[in-house]
């Protein structure tokens, strides 16, 4: 007799398929970044050749000019925030995005079948939070692509989700068990879902903040190099290392990256504020107090305060730019810490990970 595979095992199968597709998307996006580097270097060479013909050999060879850098950044910005028709045609990025959509379909399939198998929303234990949370990260990223061309974040997003999902499938898988009483609440649906949405937005902000830091470093170098070249004699060549991170030249400038990061972070912050309030209402129903500095509550609060700090930092002289970017990075690190380490190892009332 042939036994029908259970819905839950189908879910697991779909999940592994999604992971594999994300892995392919990751590769496509990585190739895209590498090709952007090559593209940028080619362009640089072309510029150099032109300059040599104009000015003669030797002068300022290998130095990005600040003006050129600014022009590149403006062009990149126009392509990121401009209409979809103005976007650069990047074949591998397109492939990556298509694969990510495909992966998301399987991912949604895995999530929905798990929900149907369990007969409830599929975010009631660690395994399911991870499943749904990562799904929202991908979904938010893909939706944002309609407005901004952030495909340069593709390898980060697919890489992150691939790792989290792989770890989840291997480490966190839990059998379906009935909900425990405290979880039988509409707040489970709302609170956890909104928290996951906030996490997805924070992830985007995080990636943009990291790029902002890299970009700012490059900009500083270019400016310093030009200053040195200007003060040195005309024919002293200032060598620039062939940049491994040349793809940065195809991205908007650090200030633009920062304001993009900020836009995602503030939406994430609003969701997180809501998560905090919804969690308190739920805690009041389930445990008879709206706030008790339970470990999970502490970390939700810490993250909220960190992002409030980040928003402030952006408005504080001397903190805008690099320092505020670090706060966004620390904030997201705390989000990940809260989701993984705190769930697994910290003692508290939120013992819903379902792990032994």
């Amino acid at each position: 007799m042939v036994r029908m595979p259970s819905l839950d095992s189908i879910s697991v199968l779909l999940l592994w398929t999604a992971i594999a597709i994300y892995a392919l998307a990751f590769i496509a996006y990585a190739i895209d970044l590498a090709r952007r580097s090559a593209l940028a270097l080619d362009e640089q060479d072309a510029v150099l050749v032109r300059e040599r013909e104009l000015v003669g050999v030797g002068a300022r060879s290998g130095v990005d000019s600040v003006a050129q850098m600014r022009a590149e950044a403006r062009a990149a910005e126009a392509s990121v925030t401009g209409p979809r028709s103005a976007r650069s045609r990047l074949v591998y990025a397109r492939v990556g995005t298509s694969l990510t959509w495909l992966g998301l379909l399987f991912h949604i399939g895995a999530d929905v079948t798990r929900g149907i198998a369990a007969g409830r929303v599929p975010w009631s234990n660690m395994y399911e939070f991870a499943l749904t949370g990562t799904m929202l990260i991908v979904a938010v990223y893909l939706v944002v692509l309609f407005k901004y061309d952030l495909r340069f974040l593709g390898s980060f997003i697919t890489g992150l989700v691939m790792l989290l999902l792989g770890g989840t499938a291997l480490r966190f898988y839990t059998e379906i068990v009935p909900l425990s009483d405290p979880l039988k609440s509409v707040w489970l649906v709302i609170h956890v879902f909104v928290a996951s949405l906030a996490t997805a937005l924070f992830a985007l902000a995080f990636a943009l903040s990291v790029l902002q830091l890299m970009q700012a470093r490059r900009e500083r170098k270019v400016i310093a190099a030009e200053e040195r070249a200007a003060s040195a004699d005309g024919d002293v060549a200032v060598s620039m290392k062939p940049a491994r991170l040349a793809f940065l030249r195809t991205l908007p400038g650090s200030e633009s990256l920062e304001s993009l990061a900020y836009r995602f972070a503030i939406i994430g912050f609003i969701f997180w504020t809501f998560t905090l309030i919804a969690g308190s209402i739920w805690a009041n129903d389930a445990w008879g107090r709206y706030w008790g500095f339970d470990t999970k509550e502490v970390w939700t609060f810490v993250i909220w305060v960190l992002y409030a700090g980040y928003i402030h930092a952006r408005a504080t002289r001397g903190w805008r730019g690099t320092r505020s970017a670090w706060l966004s990075i620390i904030g997201f690190a705390a989000v990940m810490f809260n989701f993984t380490i705190v769930n697994m190892f910290f003692k508290g009332l939120h013992v819903y990970s379902g792990l032994q």
């Binding site: 609003i270 008879g288 705190v342």
Partner: protein, 576 residues
């Protein structure tokens, strides 16, 4: 993309600062104060006492200070998630002391077991809120004035703004160029007004212009948000004083009266008059629970707890009410929560003469998920010596390999009660408060179990057996109705209820929602100025459109473009 206001040549925008939101001096939009004192780097050594105080106040209410305090608050909150807290996990603290006897007292000195009430944590948030209030009050009064101010004069050279558009419209022969220019500005003023801008005409110096401003809600939202945070803090602080929580165990069929004497523990806030509680009664009629069956994915997992209560207020009707997890019962403004549950075996003890010296349903405290439960029975009177009985109740008794008993399933499948008997002094005569759940065996002799050589007492529902030394008998009553077959109802249940009056909660929620609303306004309402200026230029009218963001405004450029397009189209339509 970036915020343009900070890069704009302020000198060109005469008077543009007057209606701006007031910002601490080290805000990115602020103008650096002379001497650098705003950024706190350079301190003027010749300040008088008043100067010093002003300087200190400026420091305290600066953006940088707010930021540093916020970060300190985040860091200071972390240890409370690592070290057990007395408020959330008192047993954890006790355990910590016994497993780290050297470290624990040091941590205790540092108030690390009470992080959220510690001096250092309090210092941080109190400073933060002082700073907050010091920051918000001047901004509120400034904003109040700004709300009634007119948009500022049109800058002389709009072209210097980042978001700028310009068009030339040729005037037909014979038309009055100045009238056309004026008409253009009229039209723009109308359009801006309809778009929610506050407008002001500034004509003269060879040109006509309208100055428009919108987005006052941004600052209003910011002030609402920060103000509501103060509201949350005050609600917690003051409301907490009127709040109480108390606990009480209620056995099936018995009642609880909401009076101080009837609580097993009671924590009143500072302003609660514990003698004056609303005297309602609660009776536990029945407690329902379901367990996942053996063979399912989570055998024995408990759920669907419902305590069916009858409640009665003084002079009121008796009404039914249920308490479930996530659904507390509201009575007279108090909320009743279900905290725990367990079995309360009914035991009757008779002395050698056959006189009943004890008859009660005794709550046994669950020790594991299969409801192996521990309980104590105290018989102070009616026996030659006081008796204490300590024992376990197993709803589904099973034997471990070691020979010890355990419970294999939480429901009443094979219930069994084992008891050990102690005789002597219970230690309750001198009035020392003793927990009803523990027995202090000092001063008592063990009569059964352990090393006594006498077997422990073991009973199933309905059974009676003799006490050792001819002391009498003990009966484990079967509480099933006479019609019942199995054991399902043989043992009564108890629930542990938690009764709360929360005066702070609703206020905290209101302020939190105001904060959320304020945040939405503060972060998403764009605050901006727009100018449309028309100047006669030979045979044409030159129309200039410019925008200036006050704060984060990624859509400014699009807004200027939209205005220019819409206005251009309307102006070209004759008679518009």
């Amino acid at each position: 993309m970036s915020r343009r206001s900070s890069e704009s040549p302020a000198s060109d925008l005469e008077g543009s600062e007057q209606g701006d939101p007031l910002r601490p001096s080290d805000h990115v939009d602020g103008v650096a104060a002379d001497g650098g004192s705003a950024s706190g780097e350079i301190v003027n050594p010749k300040l008088g006492p008043i100067g010093w105080m002003r300087w200190a106040w400026r420091q305290l209410t600066s953006m940088r200070n707010a930021l540093v305090l916020l970060l300190l608050l985040a860091i200071a909150a972390v240890p409370g998630s690592i070290v057990p807290q007395r408020s959330a996990d008192p047993n954890g603290v006790t355990q910590y002391f016994s497993s780290n006897p050297d470290l624990a007292p040091i941590l205790d000195k540092l108030q690390l077991f009470d992080v959220y009430t510690s001096a250092w944590f309090s210092a941080i948030y109190i400073l933060l809120f002082v700073s907050l209030i010091g920051c918000v009050i001047p901004r509120t009064s400034h904003h109040w004035k700004a709300l009634r101010a007119r948009p500022p004069r049109t800058p002389a050279r709009l072209v210097r703004l980042d978001d700028y558009r310009e068009t030339r419209v040729e005037i037909p022969q014979g038309a009055d160029a100045a009238a056309e220019a004026s008409r253009a500005v009229d039209l723009a003023a109308q359009q801006l007004k309809r778009g929610g801008y506050r407008i002001e005409r500034y004509d003269g110096r060879g040109g006509f212009s309208v100055s428009a401003e919108r987005g006052y809600w941004r600052e209003t939202g910011n002030l609402l948000f920060h103000g509501a945070l103060v509201g949350v803090l005050i609600a917690v602080g003051v409301g907490g004083g009127f709040t109480y929580t108390g606990q009480r165990v209620v056995v099936q069929g018995t009642s609880f009266v909401n009076a101080l004497t009837d609580y097993s523990s009671f924590n009143p806030g500072r302003f609660v008059n514990a003698e004056n509680l609303t005297p309602y009664t609660l009776t536990l009629d029945k407690f329902d629970i379901t367990y996942q069956p053996i063979g399912s994915s989570a055998p024995g997992q408990a759920g669907d707890f419902v305590a069916h209560l009858t409640t009665q207020q003084v002079g009121g009707e008796a009404t039914d009410g249920d308490v479930r997890v996530n659904h507390p019962l509201d009575i007279a403004g108090d909320n009743i929560y279900l905290l725990g549950n367990g079995y309360a075996p009914t035991v009757t003890i008779r002395n050698a003469a056959g006189v009943v010296v004890f008859h009660d349903s005794v709550p046994f405290l669950p020790q594991d998920t299969n409801m192996t439960s521990l309980g104590v029975i105290k018989v102070p009177d009616g026996m030659p010596e006081q008796l204490g009985l300590v024992g376990f109740f197993y709803p589904t008794q099973a034997k471990l390999d070691s020979g010890a008993f355990t419970s294999a399933y939480p429901d009443l499948v094979n219930p069994s009660l084992t008891l050990n008997v102690y005789a002597g002094d219970l230690g309750i005569n001198d009035g020392t408060p003793r927990s009803v759940y523990t027995l202090d065996p000092t001063g008592m002799t063990q009569l059964t179990g352990g090393t006594t050589g006498v077997d422990s007492i073991e009973l199933t529902p309905g059974q009676t057996t003799n006490l050792p030394n001819g002391l009498g008998t003990v009966t484990f009553e079967n509480e099933s109705p006479s019609t019942a077959t199995g054991y399902e109802q043989s043992v009564k249940r108890f629930v542990s209820l938690s009764i709360h009056r929360d005066a702070a909660g609703p206020w905290v929620l209101v302020f939190a929602l105001i904060a959320l609303g304020g945040l939405l306004l503060a972060l998403f309402v764009p605050r901006r100025r727009m100018w449309v200026k028309a100047v006669v230029d030979g045979t044409a009218v030159r129309i200039e459109y410019a925008g200036l963001a006050r704060g984060e405004d990624p859509t400014l450029k699009a807004a200027v473009d939209a205005l220019a397009d819409k206005h251009g189209a309307a102006f070209d339509t004759p008679g518009a």
